[in-house]
């Protein structure tokens, strides 16, 4: 099972997890990213490159499935305007081996952070806006999975 979705709407974490549990694998790992409030943030606007996003996320998922003995995975990434508390991203993996489920989940979220063509713009209560800067740490982390410097 490989489920990849890039969508504006919210998703049902329970349904995603239930589908992964039903694969009978023994272990299901997940990560959910949520818009963090504070500092006067009223919304995050996620822009993406539609022609590229789905293909890119698909490729990353295939890589995870080649690398770990997974029974299934589910990756969902939202775009558009999201308010604090809203879910942005979900990664779920199922495997007979808990380490495979947990590691592949970490791998996928690291890659989404550094390799998926999404950009975040912050909107503040005072009308100010600003594009979120990429963190060097994220690029380093994704490269780490390849054993590169």
């Amino acid at each position: 099972m490989k489920r990849v979705a890039v969508q504006a709407g919210d998703f049902d974490v329970a349904a995603e997890l239930a589908a992964l549990e039903a694969l009978g694998g023994g272990g299901v790992a997940s990560f959910t990213g949520v818009v963090r409030g504070g500092g006067g943030l009223i919304a995050l606007e996620l822009e993406h490159y539609p022609a590229m996003t789905k293909v890119q996320v698909d490729r990353i998922c295939d890589e995870a499935m080649a690398r770990w003995p997974l029974l299934g995975l589910s990756v969902i990434h939202r775009f558009g305007r999201l308010e604090p508390g809203a879910r942005i991203v979900f990664v779920g993996t199922a495997s007979r081996h808990r380490t495979a489920a947990l590691e592949s989940c970490a791998f996928l979220i690291d890659w989404l952070k550094s390799e998926a063509p999404f950009w975040k713009k912050e909107h503040f209560a005072d009308g100010a806006t600003g594009w979120v800067e990429a963190r060097v740490e994220d690029e380093v982390k994704a490269k780490g999975w390849n054993g590169q410097d």
């Binding site: 022609a51 952070k113 999404f118």
Partner: protein, 84 residues
């Protein structure tokens, strides 16, 4: 012609999502094309003046700015990604 698509603050500074440009000469790299666009001044200079802040994709694949454009049909220019 070559289609160029822009994202995030590159798009905002240039004021366009997408445009068509004359296909660059044989052997031209992404960096060569970016330098030519930046030379237009205004928003282009603001968006593309500092190539170290840019990332690129050719036909929806990430590439380094030193990559030859060749027969690619779509070039995308954008800042480092911040998804996830």
């Amino acid at each position: 012609m070559l289609t160029i698509v822009y994202f995030a603050w590159v798009r905002e500074r240039i004021g366009l999502d997408e445009e068509q440009v004359a296909r660059p000469e044989l052997g031209a790299t992404v960096a060569d094309l970016v330098a030519g666009l930046a030379a237009r001044g205004g928003g282009y200079a603001e968006a593309l003046g500092d190539a170290t802040r840019l990332r690129a994709a050719l036909d929806q694949r990430f590439v380094g700015l030193d990559t030859v454009i060749g027969d690619a049909r779509e070039l995308a220019l954008f800042p480092p990604v911040t998804g996830g």
